[in-house]
């Protein structure tokens, strides 16, 4: 059964790759057909994956495609099925949204990138996984990020990682560093996030793919390479660099999100925060399995799975909603938006739902992940050296800081971009995306919310089999019908009752207000500005300068670290607070005008500029060298 499914999947992936190539060269009229086919292919792949996830306990099927001696093997098991389902769901949503909202969708990179990420997730050996990620990174790069040198470095890093995963003679310690420079960099981990972050600004679909599809795929490769499913037990110290890198990425991503000047930069930073939290989870899981605490490792890994699913739903939703606001309101800069909610209510509510899902608000999936991570920290052994315990306190404080920064960033993104007065006339006449685009947004918002409220039952349904692949045992008592629990008898976090209680309390208030005949709002007038003079007539939306642009929603780094000694002060100065520069380039005019249609189409392919040719040659040479040396070794 699973061999047929695998064949179907390979057909879907091949179709996606082929369709993407076709869309690049076919005339515009046919592009729509190609897009429809791509949506159908990814949707079919997602359904097939769900079938594997729910029906088959464990099955592996190989596909022998010889490449340089070793077969390029593809295989499915429940873990791969979960992540492939996420990938294709996020991809289908992105494809559908872009096809619905753009008049002439030219984003040919989406199907190609999706297919390549599919290869990365279905790859059975590290080489296939790394190779898929490397080519997917290149595909995103082709779709036109601004910082091509960063993309080149990213491609190099990924290729190097693929080579390390593949080479038989490499010591296993190299894996951990390869994970950090390869998939970690692609997902936006700390020191290397500059490589991927600019690509978020390129286009809506690039941002959606980067946060919704690439991050889960990269997390999957990290899980596969690091966890003892290869028959090798990882040493306990592997958890340390991962935890540190994860906590740092979570905090700095959160800070950057609160200081970001525009929507896409905030989105890139928010993605980095989520990746950081997931990496922290993987680090804790590795530490716990090194200490022989399988229950704690299960808890941390459940948090990672939760965050991966949340990122596929919520990350895609945020990227698409931000793209909709940018296209509808004519600007990505927060200081030129504002008051969008009156013209784009559906988009705003979906954005709010997505941000709530990611933030640490009770009954959201982000809260469930933070709860699991905190309890995993609690479950680690209390005995240990003083530095180790201090480090644990620092990591927990970092987790708290990251969750507070997530809430502050969410408040700022919605409050400044969507609420209040319009800051420019263009923002006052913003337009909602088309109806089908709104349907995609609402569906994603519904899924992200449901994933938080029904976290227990959904984990039982979808995470039991993948967890068995990861740890050898299932979730155990972790997931309950009401929510999450640490042990079989201990009261845990009851997401569903809490959500119901809040809803009932709110409903009671509304009902009481009606029943008691309390007056509703009938008066409205200009907001009280604390005695400032009324704005002049030529400022119909008030003085934009009196409305906060959200530059003060997080304390500067100096204030976060209490009573800083010299070393901390040095570190804080190295990472100064204050508004960050935008990562997004100024818009360049698209090549259009008279000339043969084919020339225009080639120009729209966005070939890399002249200056980056040496870098591309370098990448190709490096890739060839790695392949040749590896073929020689084996």
């Amino acid at each position: 059964m699973s061999a047929e499914l695998l064949a179907l999947l390979v057909a879907a992936i091949t179709a996606l790759l082929g369709l993407g190539t076709l869309a690049a060269v076919w005339p515009r009229q046919c592009v729509r057909i190609v897009w429809g086919a791509a949506i159908v292919a990814s949707f079919a792949a997602m359904i097939a994956m769900l079938d594997v996830l729910l029906a088959e306990p464990r099955s592996t099927a190989g596909l022998p495609l010889a490449l340089a001696g070793e077969p390029l093997r593809l295989a499915i098991d429940p873990l791969a099925a979960l992540f492939a389902a996420l990938l294709f769901a996020a991809g289908a949503a992105t494809l559908a949204f872009v096809a619905a909202t753009e008049k002439a969708p030219a984003a040919t990179a989406i199907p190609v990138c999706l297919g390549l990420l599919g290869i990365a997730v279905l790859g059975q050996n590290g080489f296939t996984q790394g190779l898929g990620l490397a080519f997917a990174g290149t595909a995103i790069w082709l779709s036109g990020p601004s910082d091509r040198s960063g993309a080149v470095q990213l491609g190099l890093g990924l290729l190097a990682a693929a080579a390390i995963f593949a080479a038989p003679g490499v010591p296993p310690q190299a894996r951990i560093w390869a994970v950090l420079i390869g998939p970690g960099a692609l997902a936006g981990l700390m020191p290397l996030h500059r490589w991927t972050a600019p690509a978020h600004c390129a286009s809506t679909h690039a941002a959606a793919l980067l946060s919704g599809a690439t991050v889960p795929a990269a997390l999957y490769v990290m899980l596969r390479v690091l966890l003892p499913s290869h028959g090798m037990v990882p040493p306990a110290w592997w958890g340390l660099p991962l935890s540190l890198a994860g906590a740092a990425a979570a905090v700095i991503g959160g800070l950057d999100a609160v200081w970001a000047p525009d929507l896409e930069t905030a989105l890139a930073a928010g993605t980095m925060r989520q990746t950081g939290l997931a990496t922290l989870g993987i680090g804790v899981a590795l530490t716990a399995s090194g200490e022989d605490l399988p229950a704690v490792a299960t808890m941390a890994l459940a948090a990672v799975l939760l965050l991966a699913v949340l990122q596929a739903m919520g990350g895609t939703l945020l990227a698409l909603a931000c793209g909709a606001i940018r296209d509808g309101a004519g600007s990505r800069r927060l200081e030129r938006l504002g008051g969008v909610v009156r013209r784009m209510p559906v988009t705003t509510v979906c954005l709010l739902a997505g941000l709530t899902g990611l933030a640490t608000v009770p009954a959201s999936a982000g809260f469930a992940a933070a709860w699991l991570l905190l309890h995993a920290f609690l479950g680690l052994p209390h005995a240990g050296s003083l530095p180790a315990q201090l480090l644990r306190c620092a990591l927990v404080a970092g987790l708290g800081l990251a969750s507070a920064l997530g809430s502050a960033g969410a408040l700022r993104m919605v409050g400044v971009a969507c609420l209040g007065r319009p800051r420019t006339p263009r923002a006052a006449v913003a337009d909602e995306p088309s109806r089908s685009g709104r349907i995609v947004l609402v569906a994603l918002a519904f899924l992200a919310t449901a994933w938080g409220v029904l976290v227990g039952p959904l984990l039982m349904l979808f995470a039991e089999a993948p967890m068995r692949v990861l740890t050898g045992s299932g979730l155990g008592p972790l997931a309950t019908p009401l929510g999450l629990a640490v042990g079989p008898e201990s009261p845990g976090y009851a997401a569903l009752p809490i959500a119901c209680l809040v809803a009932v309390a709110g409903g009671l208030v509304v009902w009481l207000r009606r029943w008691l005949g309390m007056p509703g709002a009938t008066t409205s007038g200009p907001a009280w500005e604390d005695g400032f003079a009324a704005p002049p007539a030529w400022l119909p939306f008030g003085d934009p300068g009196t409305q906060t642009a959200g530059t003060d929603f997080a304390p500067s780094a100096m204030r976060i670290l209490p009573l800083p000694p010299a070393l901390v002060r040095f570190a804080a100065q190295a990472y100064k607070g204050g508004e960050k520069p935008s990562l997004c380039p100024r818009p360049t005019p698209t090549p259009s005008g008279p000339g043969p249609a084919m020339t225009r189409r080639i120009a729209n392919l966005r070939l890399p500029p002249q200056g980056s040719a040496p870098a591309i040659i370098l990448v190709l040479l490096a890739g060839l060298l790695i392949l040749c040396s590896w073929a020689g070794v084996s």
């Binding site: 709860w371 408040l411 976090y493």
Partner: protein
């Protein structure tokens, strides 16, 4: 017989939950009046009547809310959401008895998260108005939350390591039995939480943008958040007198009296501390929260170090 006994216990749990929720709702504005009364006494004035906040709320509830021109339905929803989250948080923190119906849901992180959500929702409504003071207040609230949250997680780590659970009812029960050892760690963690209350983490200062019946809801929610925090600190530090699960009516009455006395003493202590410091200025709040963070680290380290010794 066994079934009958179980039904009686369940009914008692539900009754206790209803009494507790009603008590928190009714007492929250009174505690606000008490706080102002103590502050006034210490400043040499006579404070307001204890019923004054309720009178104010009733007066506000009769007024039409005036909305800004830029307001959307979100402006009317936010006060309801703010109140709903605050009241659920208040319902989850046991006051006079353990063994209430919602004891199983009262996780420390959930309660803290609900209180934070209640504040964030008001900040959203403030940003909706689009005025300068509201925007500044929203930014201040977000900054303060960023400073307070690490301390909160550290305190939860300390209590979780002390009691092996983060469930509030279980923690209260363990403290009642004197099983949260070492005591010093618990005191340090509670001190961190109390310092957060002193630094005004439950207050938002964002009430300028709502009016009428909505303002009544937001003010009631703010009073509830304050009382919940006090009740939590009092229960974690000194749960003496609290009725145990299955306690009778007499135990409940004793628990009610003990809870009232604890809230009274805590309010008086907070007022005295504020009067002696002259309050904590907004610019000094980060310092206070930094000290709270250090207390939290100390508490966690004390627990973990004592585990090594044992």
């Amino acid at each position: 017989m066994l079934l009958g006994g179980r039904i009686v216990t369940d009914l008692a749990a539900i009754l206790a939950q209803i009494i507790h929720s009603a008590l928190m709702l009714a007492a929250a504005p009174v505690v606000t009046a008490l706080r102002e009364g103590f502050a006034a006494r210490l400043a040499g004035r006579t404070g307001p009547d204890l019923r004054q906040p309720w009178r104010d709320l009733r007066r506000l509830a009769r007024k039409h809310p005036a909305l800004a021109e830029t307001a959307t339905p979100l402006s009317r929803t936010a006060p309801v959401a703010c109140f709903a989250t605050a009241v659920v948080a208040a319902a989850l923190v046991p006051s006079f008895t353990l063994g209430m119906a919602f004891d199983g849901f009262s996780d420390l992180l959930v309660v803290a998260g609900l209180l934070a959500t209640s504040r964030i929702v008001v900040a959203l409504a403030a940003l909706e108005a689009g005025t300068a003071p509201a925007g500044l207040a929203a930014g201040r609230a977000a900054r303060l939350a960023c400073l307070a949250e690490p301390t909160l997680y550290l305190a939860i780590l300390a209590f979780g390591a002390l009691g092996g659970t983060t469930n509030l009812a279980s923690l209260f029960w363990l403290q009642l039995q004197g099983m949260l050892q070492p005591v010093a760690a618990g005191i340090l963690a509670v001190a961190a939480l109390a310092l957060m209350a002193l630094a005004g983490c439950a207050e938002t200062g964002l009430t300028t943008e709502v009016s009428g019946a909505d303002l009544a809801l937001v003010q009631l929610a703010e009073a509830l958040r304050h009382l919940t925090w006090l009740s939590l600190v009092a229960g974690l530090l000194f749960p003496l007198g609290m009725a145990e699960p299955g306690g009778g009516a007499l135990a409940w009455i004793v628990g009610l009296i003990a809870w009232g006395a604890k809230v009274l003493v805590a309010t008086a202590c907070l007022a005295a501390l504020r009067a002696s410091f002259g309050g904590i200025r907004p610019s000094r709040r980060p310092l206070a929260l930094g000290i709270a963070a250090i207390l939290g680290v100390l508490a966690a380290m004390l627990v973990l170090a004592s585990a090594v010794a044992a």
